[in-house]
Symmetry: C2
Subunit: 418 residues, 2 copies
C-alpha cells in the first residue's frame, strides 16, 4: 500500500461512470414523474437512500454508523486510529420538488473519493469519513441543517427531535422509523472530533456555467434568517360581512407582505427575500380567512445589513396588520460564514495538480458546511449546474463536471488526511 | 281533521323546546371542540345528519326519499295527491369552521312546521314537503348550491357528480357512500313540479339584531361570481436565485391581489370581495413557489355592476402576473335574484296574523332559494343571529327568535298549500 504522496493516484482512480451510475441509482429513490426527486428528510425514501449508500460502503469494506440525530457515517480507517478524521459529505434529503444532485452529489462524490483511494491503494494517516447529514433542506422539519447543527452543538438534540412536521409527526418518531430499517447499524456518540471538513455541491447558481469553469472554490456562505409569521383574524361569511366589519387574515397578510416587499426588495438585487409557505385557514372560497401562516427566508452576504433587514420584519408586520393580531418568530438564523484559508489553499492546490481551472466564489445557499465551519477548518467545492437551476426537478449537471469535482475532492481529502 | 282555515293552529302548535332540542341534537353531528360544527357535504357526518332527520320524519309518519343528487325529501301528504307540493327546507352541510344554525335551522324549522301541522290536525290540499339540499356551502365540492342547481336544471347531474374534492374523491363516490348508509331509502326522479318554495334561515348579517326585529322578509339575493385563479411560475432556490431571474408564483399572485384590491374594494363598502382559498406549491420555506391557486368570491346587488367588476378580474390578473403565466376561470355565477311578490305577500300576512313585527331586507348570502326562484314562486324568512356572525363557530341565535320564525313559516306553508 502506498503512502500519502500518491494523491495523483486517488484522483486518477475516480471513475466518472461509476459516480454517475450511483447518482442515478440514488435519484430513483423518491423519483418524481417529471424527472425530479421528492425525498423528504426521515421519510421511507430517505431510509431507502441511506440503505443504498450504506450497502455500497459496506461492499467496499468501510464501517457504517449513525449518531443520535441520524447522521450517517462511513469510515475509511487511517494509519493512526486515534487521529481526528477528515470529514466529507452532504445530505440525502431533497425539496418536495427537488432535483437529482442537490445534496446527493456531495455524498456520492465523497463515496467515490473513498472508493478511488481504495482502488489506488492509498493509505492516509487520518481516517477519512463520509457523512450524510440529516435533514439539510428543512422542508419537512425545521430548522434545516438539523443534523450538522446538532453534530456541532449549535442545536440541542432534544429540540431537534421535538420538531413536528405538517402531519403532526415528530422528528423523533420519523427517525425511529428510519433506524428500524437498519437494526444492525452501530450508533456512535453525538460528539466527535473533526480535523477538517470538505463538502462538494452543485453551485445552484449561474456563475460557473456562465464563465465556462468546471470548478468553484467556495470562500463562504451568505447569512440567512428565517421567520414564521402568523396572522389571526376572524372567520366570517363572505356574502354578508362588509369589509369594515371583517378581520380578514388574508387581506392583513397581503398588506404585511406588501410592506415587506417595499422594505426588503433592493434595486441591486443582492438581498434574497422569499415567501415559500403561505397557508390560509379555513380555506373555503366563501369564508373570510381566520388565520394565515407564512414563512420568510431572508439572506444577505453582509452581516450588519442582514441584522438590520431582519430586525425590521416584526415591526413592519405589526404596523400593517390592521385589525388582526400578528406574531413574528425567528425560527433560525445563521450569520455569514467565511471558510478556513488552510482548507481553501489545499483545495486550490489540488485543483492545480489535477489541471482543473477554477475560480473562488461565495455560496448563495446555506449548507451543512456553514455549521461545520464553527467546529473545524472547512471548505467547499462547487461544480456547475445547468442554468443555475436547483430546488427544481429540472436540476441538471454534466457527468464530466461531476467527476472533475470528485477528482479534486479526492486529491484534497488525501492531502488533508496526511 | 280540520281544513286549511285553521292556520292559527299550526303556528300555535310550534314547540320552541322541541325545535331547539332537534337543532342541538343536529349540532352534535360534526361538533367542533370550539362549539362550532364541521359537517362537510357528503361526508359521514352529513350522512349521520341525514339519518337523524329521516328518523324524526319517519317517526312522524312522513315518507322519506332522495333524488339522484342526494337531496333529501320528507313528504307530508295533501288531500290532492296530484297537486304540486309546497316545498320548504335548507341544507345540512356546513363550512369547515361553521356554526350550528346556518342551513340546519331551515331544515329543522321546516320539520317543526310539518310536526306542528300534525299536532294541530291540519290537512292541506297540496302536499307540503321538507327538503335538505345537497352541498349548499360549496366548501368541499364546487359549485355550491349543488343540490338545488341540479334539481332546478341549472346544473347537469353528471357535471355535479364529477366534482372532485381536495383529496381526489368525486361527489359521485361520496354520495354513494352516504346513500349506502340508508339502503332502504326510496329514490325519486330528479325532476319534480314545485308550487312554491319558502326557505327559513338565520340572517347572517347584523340588520335584524341592530333594529331589534325578530323577523325579516327576504326580497331577493345579491349576485355572486366565483373565480379560480392559477398562477404558474418556476420553482427555484431561495438562496441562490436573484429576484431578476425568478418566476415567483407567490409574488406574482401577491401583485395580482394588489391590483384586484385597488379595483374592487369600493369606498361605499357594497361590493363583497373575498379570497378564501390561497394555496402555494411546493410550500417549502427555501423554495421559490412554482404555483399558486386562489379563489375569488365577488358579490354585488346590482347586476350590471357585478358583470362589470367580474369582467375586470381576468384582464387585471393577466397584466399584473409579470413573468408568470396566469389563468382565470369563472367557476360559478348567479345573477341577483328578486323573490316572487305573491309568496312575499303570503309571508307578510302570516307574520301579521302571528303578531310578529318584521321588515323587508335583501340577502347578502347566496341560498338554494336563489335557484328555486327560477323554477317556482319563492320567498325566504330571516331570523336574527348574534352580531351578524355566521360561517364561524360562534354563530348563535335565540331559541325564541328561532321559534318565531318557525311559527310564521308554518302559517305561510299552510296558506300556500291551500
Amino acid at each position: 500500500m502506498a503512502d500519502g504522496h500518491t494523491e495523483q493516484g486517488a484522483a486518477a482512480a475516480v471513475d466518472e461512470g461509476r459516480l454517475w451510475g450511483r447518482l442515478m441509482a440514488l435519484a430513483a429513490v423518491g423519483a418524481r414523474p417529471d424527472g425530479g426527486v421528492d425525498r423528504p428528510a426521515l421519510s421511507m425514501q430517505d431510509a431507502q437512500a441511506r440503505s443504498l449508500v450504506a450497502g455500497w460502503a459496506r461492499d467496499l469494506g468501510f464501517a457504517v454508523a449513525t449518531d443520535p440525530i441520524g447522521n450517517l457515517f462511513v469510515r475509511r480507517a487511517g494509519r493512526d486510529p486515534d487521529a481526528a478524521p477528515v470529514l466529507t459529505g452532504s445530505h440525502l434529503d431533497t425539496q418536495p420538488m427537488g432535483g437529482r444532485f442537490d445534496g446527493a452529489y456531495g455524498v456520492i462524490a465523497g463515496l467515490e473519493a473513498l472508493h478511488a483511494m481504495n482502488d489506488a491503494g492509498i493509505s492516509t494517516r487520518r481516517p477519512v469519513e463520509l457523512v450524510a447529514w440529516t435533514n439539510e433542506e428543512g422542508a419537512r422539519f425545521q430548522p434545516g441543517c438539523m443534523g450538522s447543527a446538532v453534530f456541532t452543538g449549535a442545536l440541542a438534540l432534544e429540540t431537534a427531535l421535538a420538531a413536528v412536521d405538517r402531519d403532526g409527526m415528530t422528528a423523533r418518531e420519523a427517525l425511529a422509523a428510519v433506524l428500524a430499517g437498519e437494526p444492525e447499524m452501530a450508533i456512535r456518540p453525538a460528539d466527535a472530533a473533526v480535523h477538517a471538513y470538505v463538502e462538494a455541491h452543485i453551485e445552484q447558481g449561474p456563475v460557473l456555467e456562465e464563465e465556462g469553469l468546471p470548478l468553484g472554490i467556495v470562500t463562504g456562505i451568505q447569512g440567512c434568517r428565517w421567520f414564521a409569521v402568523e396572522v389571526t383574524g376572524e372567520a366570517a361569511h363572505a356574502g354578508t360581512t362588509p369589509r369594515a366589519r371583517r378581520r380578514d387574515a388574508f387581506m392583513a397578510a397581503h398588506a404585511i407582505v406588501a410592506e415587506l416587499r417595499r422594505a426588503l426588495e433592493d434595486e441591486a438585487d443582492v438581498t434574497r427575500f422569499t415567501i415559500g409557505r403561505f397557508e390560509v385557514e379555513p380555506g373555503s372560497p366563501n369564508t373570510v380567512p381566520a388565520r394565515v401562516f407564512f414563512t420568510i427566508d431572508l439572506r444577505h452576504p453582509d452581516a450588519a445589513r442582514l441584522t438590520d433587514l431582519g430586525d425590521r420584519v416584526a415591526p413592519l408586520a405589526g404596523s400593517a396588520a390592521g385589525g388582526c393580531a400578528v406574531t413574528v418568530t425567528q425560527t433560525s438564523a445563521s450569520a455569514p460564514v467565511v471558510f478556513a484559508d488552510p482548507v481553501l489553499r489545499v483545495l486550490r492546490d489540488a485543483a492545480v495538480r489535477c489541471g482543473v481551472p477554477f475560480r473562488d466564489l461565495p455560496s448563495g445557499a446555506g449548507h451543512d458546511a456553514g455549521y461545520l465551519a464553527a467546529m473545524a477548518p472547512t471548505g467547499m467545492l462547487f461544480v456547475p449546474c445547468a442554468g443555475g437551476v436547483s430546488h427544481h426537478p429540472a436540476e441538471s449537471a454534466a457527468p464530466a463536471d461531476l467527476a472533475t469535482g470528485a477528482r479534486v475532492l479526492a486529491e484534497g481529502l488525501v492531502r488533508l488526511a496526511e
